[in-house]
């Protein structure tokens, strides 16, 4: 079926398998967008009906964001047409799209952190009093009903930077509602939300749906796609692949449509006999909890660390690495006690920490792939005013090849790469230091399916070569499939360490929730 569709001429490749009598809110036909050197979108079709939640699925770099930026008035399409409520539109900017009822909630929230909730909602159209001055009180009064609609129980006078990520997202949605939007685009809305916040978001989305709004929902998480959407549209390499009703499809089929081939052995793991203890924490306490943690990670072993957001996973290992101050108790590396801990020294002891947030903690976005992959191992090729360029190139090419980073040249700026490739660059930077202990904090967050599988394979290989791996993740499936042992964290302490035969979703969650 899919093969047939791909081969068919473009006029046939529409969403003919969706029969929906509801009025169309958005229709995009034959949209093409080219950037210098790249064809970002080729002949894309999209239809969104009233009261529909349309999932938009595709690997990073498939063109989802570009397409949404066309809809949001940020890019002008080279050709093709966009219809809103059946009328053709030509947006010449974000404001025009906003006026046509399209609201875009970006993955990285676009709120002003030092303004209040009410000010953010009415930013650019501040409510004025008779004297022509901005009236805080009036804005707050007007903001309240919108906050109620999204179930957000905060004072509109509060500064946005004091809200949680989930609450900030609700402010964005409240802002969209206040703009009378008919269409809301949610771009990976759950990537930094806690479980409760996710549930709350889903409820709001369902409510908006019953009110006849159209929602375009971009996500990599299959469970969310199946939970929430009516139809799923799949894109690949800037092309339209197919649109299918969610109830008639399976995860395997969607992955196949996205990747264009079957991803076999999605989780890739060969188990090894663990070696000696590489990293040991003895009564190590840190963070606001100050609870003693004991954990041993051995060579050739992957220890998963699972916990809900706020369980203190990153805090624990950032403190071990000396990236955060504090921490009491003992840290042993290969049996030797480590005195003072700071990132430079821990790296010399053979530790590497791949941080959670690649954009702020991992990458130098202005720099090229070469700069980024070599920055942590400069000592290998620079000494006494001599740069061994041969060695430098080796490091970079080695990273590009072992990690299969898709770049046109080592001089490509990392800011232009897709999420998966960016993550591989960060990984490459640390692999270049030849770590003996590798701590991975959410290494597959915001990474597409294909790249995920590749990252799993590399992690497995490293473990097989003798590296001791700590794998921090909030995706239960991932840690269960990748770990030899699993440490479940709750409120700053390790609630349980489970061995492979004890892995069970309910048991793990019970430990995580307490």
């Amino acid at each position: 079926m899919t093969q047939l569709l791909e081969a068919a001429p473009s006029f046939l490749r529409t969403d003919e398998n969706i029969v929906d009598s509801r009025p169309k809110l958005v229709e995009m036909k034959g949209v093409v967008k080219t950037f210098p050197g790249v064809k970002a979108l080729t002949d894309i079709h999209l239809t969104l009906h009233q009261g529909e939640v349309l999932g938009l699925l595709g690997e990073n770099g498939a063109g989802k964001s570009t397409l949404m930026n066309v809809l949001g008035g940020i890019y002008k399409p080279d050709s093709g047409s966009v219809y809103i409520n059946g009328e053709e539109v030509h947006f010449d900017g974000v404001l025009a799209a906003q006026e046509a009822g399209i609201a875009f909630v970006h993955q990285e929230l676009a709120l002003e952190p030092f303004l209040t909730v009410a000010e953010n909602i009415f930013i650019g159209r501040e409510v004025k009093n008779k004297a022509g001055l901005v009236s805080q009180r009036e804005m707050e009064t007007q903001a309240r009903p919108f906050l109620r609609m999204v179930g957000l129980d905060v004072d509109p006078q509060m500064m946005v930077n004091s809200l949680s990520m989930g609450q900030q997202q609700m402010v964005e949605i409240a802002k969209a509602l206040s703009l009378n939007s008919r269409v809301i685009v949610l771009d990976e809305p759950t990537s930094s939300l806690s479980e409760n916040e996710v549930e709350n978001l889903f409820q709001i989305v369902r409510k908006l749906k019953t009110q006849g709004m159209g929602i375009i929902y971009i996500s990599h998480k299959m469970s969310e796609i199946f939970d929430l959407t009516d139809n799923v549209m799949v894109m690949r390499d800037g092309c339209y692949v197919d649109t299918v009703p969610t109830s008639n499809t399976t995860e395997d089929e969607l992955v196949h449509l996205m990747v264009g081939r079957d991803v076999e052995n999605y989780y890739y793991r060969t188990y090894n006999e663990p070696g000696d203890a590489a990293l040991e924490l003895r009564d190590f306490a840190c963070g606001p909890w100050e609870k003693p943690v004991n954990l041993t990670v051995r060579q050739r072993e992957i220890v998963g660390v699972y916990g809900l957001i706020g369980a203190g996973r990153s805090e624990l290992f950032e403190t071990v690495m000396g990236l955060r101050n504090g921490g009491s108790g003992t840290v042993l590396v290969h049996g030797n006690e480590i005195g003072a801990r700071d990132p430079v020294r821990m790296q010399q002891h053979g530790l590497a920490y791949v941080p959670e947030d690649r954009k702020t903690q991992g990458l130098f976005l202005f720099g090229d792939v070469m700069f980024n992959t070599s920055i942590a191992s400069l000592g290998d090729f620079i000494s006494w005013l001599r740069v061994n360029e041969r060695k430098e190139k080796e490091i970079v090419v080695n990273a590009i090849e072992t990690l299969n980073i898709k770049v046109s040249s080592p001089q490509t700026r990392v800011g232009t790469l897709s999420g998966g490739n960016q993550q591989k660059v960060v990984l490459g930077k640390w692999l270049a230091t030849k770590p003996e202990i590798l701590i991975l904090d959410e290494p597959t967050r915001g990474v597409d399916v294909g790249a995920k599988a590749e990252i799993y394979k590399i992690i497995n290989e490293l473990a097989a070569q003798g590296v001791a791996v700590v794998f921090i993740s909030s995706e239960l499936n991932e840690v269960m499939n990748m770990s030899d042992r699993l440490a479940v964290m709750r409120e700053g302490e390790i609630a349980a360490v489970l061995s492979r035969d004890e892995f069970n979703q309910d048991v793990i969650l019970k430990h995580a929730l307490g």
């Binding site: 990132p343 130098f364 700069f371 190139k393 090419v397």
Partner: protein
């Protein structure tokens, strides 16, 4: 992987450091500006191209050139160094005083003047690194302290150097080339080496580009910051001692507003105020452009008050074009 060799070849296309073509490519915008200015002045200003004027021009830019190196490094860390002008005065006064009043031998007096700069720079760096106060505020305060210290030490009056050998430091020649020009060239070469051939240089780019990622990459953030401001202090003080030697006196009023020209040269030379971007060659041309404007306008008999106005306009225009060139590369879009 099949494209392995392919990739290695492509790395070779753009050499990591050096090469004239890369220099031209990177600095194309300001090179065009520089060339235009050069052609314009050659045609309209008599004597502009004469050897005497060229020597004069190079000597007159040398102070600003040495200051611009330190200021550029601080800007590359998304900071600034406003102390340099006041430090020129303080170090000059201290060098002359230690020669006159404390009877130190000449080399030691020069070193004392320079060490004052290192101490001030270290203080700047330590306060910036450990307190997190913005470099603008720290170095502005230090500027005030240094200016005050210069007046206090000198008793409010210029102090004349009694040792005639001292004046050779700034007025001597190496063959046909004035010594300050030699210092400038040597220091720019060292800057080039620092930025391109050392780990510390790459750490400066990294820390300026993304401080958080720099920390997570195992870069000693405190060390890099302290180094940059200490070096800036050292260079300002050295420039101050050389200037005092040229004038045969330590003047507490010296160097007022010098930071403006130093910042202008750095920024015209393509250093990004957001940090992480800057090149030695670019800043050198920036220094020359600033110098040529003053020199050329003098030759054209333009009222010196107008020179300030014209310099200001040129800064904005130059930076605007540099930004446009970098659009899409640096910090734009999503």
């Amino acid at each position: 992987m099949k494209n392995g060799i392919d990739l290695l070849d492509r790395v070779g296309e753009v050499p990591v450091a050096g090469s004239v073509s890369k220099f031209i490519k990177q600095n194309l915008g300001i090179l065009i500006g520089f060339a235009t200015l050069l052609v314009f002045l050659s045609i309209f200003a008599d004597n502009f191209l004469s050897w005497a004027n060229m020597v004069n021009l190079m000597r007159s830019v040398s102070t600003n050139a040495i200051l611009a190196i330190g200021v550029m490094l601080s800007i590359m860390l998304a900071g600034i160094d406003l102390t340099c002008g006041a430090l020129v005065a303080l170090s000059g006064v201290v060098a002359v005083l230690s020669l006159n009043n404390f009877g130190l031998p000449l080399p030691l007096a020069i070193v004392t003047g320079v060490i004052i700069g290192v101490v001030v720079g270290l203080l700047n760096g330590l306060v910036i690194a450990y307190t997190g106060i913005h470099p603008f505020v720290v170095t502005l305060a230090m500027q005030s302290i240094c200016r005050g210290a210069a007046y206090l030490a000198a008793g409010g009056q210029p102090v004349t150097a009694r040792n005639t050998a001292f004046t050779a430091l700034g007025n001597g020649y190496l063959g046909p080339i004035p010594l300050p020009v030699v210092y400038m060239i040597v220091l720019f070469f060292l800057l080039y080496l620092l930025l391109n051939k050392t780990r510390l240089g790459r750490h400066i780019y990294a820390l300026g580009g993304n401080p958080t990622a720099a920390k997570y990459s195992g870069i000693n953030v405190v060390k890099v910051k302290v180094f940059v401001w200490a070096v800036s202090g050292l260079l300002s003080a050295f420039a101050g001692v050389v200037l005092a030697s040229r004038m045969s006196s330590g003047q507490p009023t010296a160097g007022v507003g010098y930071e403006t020209d130093a910042i202008a040269a750095a920024v015209i030379g393509g250093t990004s105020m957001y940090g992480g971007v800057g090149r030695a060659g670019g800043v050198f041309i920036g220094v020359l452009i600033i110098g040529m404007i003053s020199n050329g306008l003098n030759l054209l008999h333009v009222n010196s008050f107008w020179q300030y106005v014209i310099k200001g306009i040129i800064i904005i225009v130059a930076v605007y074009f540099d930004m446009r060139k970098n659009k899409g590369n640096v910090r734009t879009g999503f």
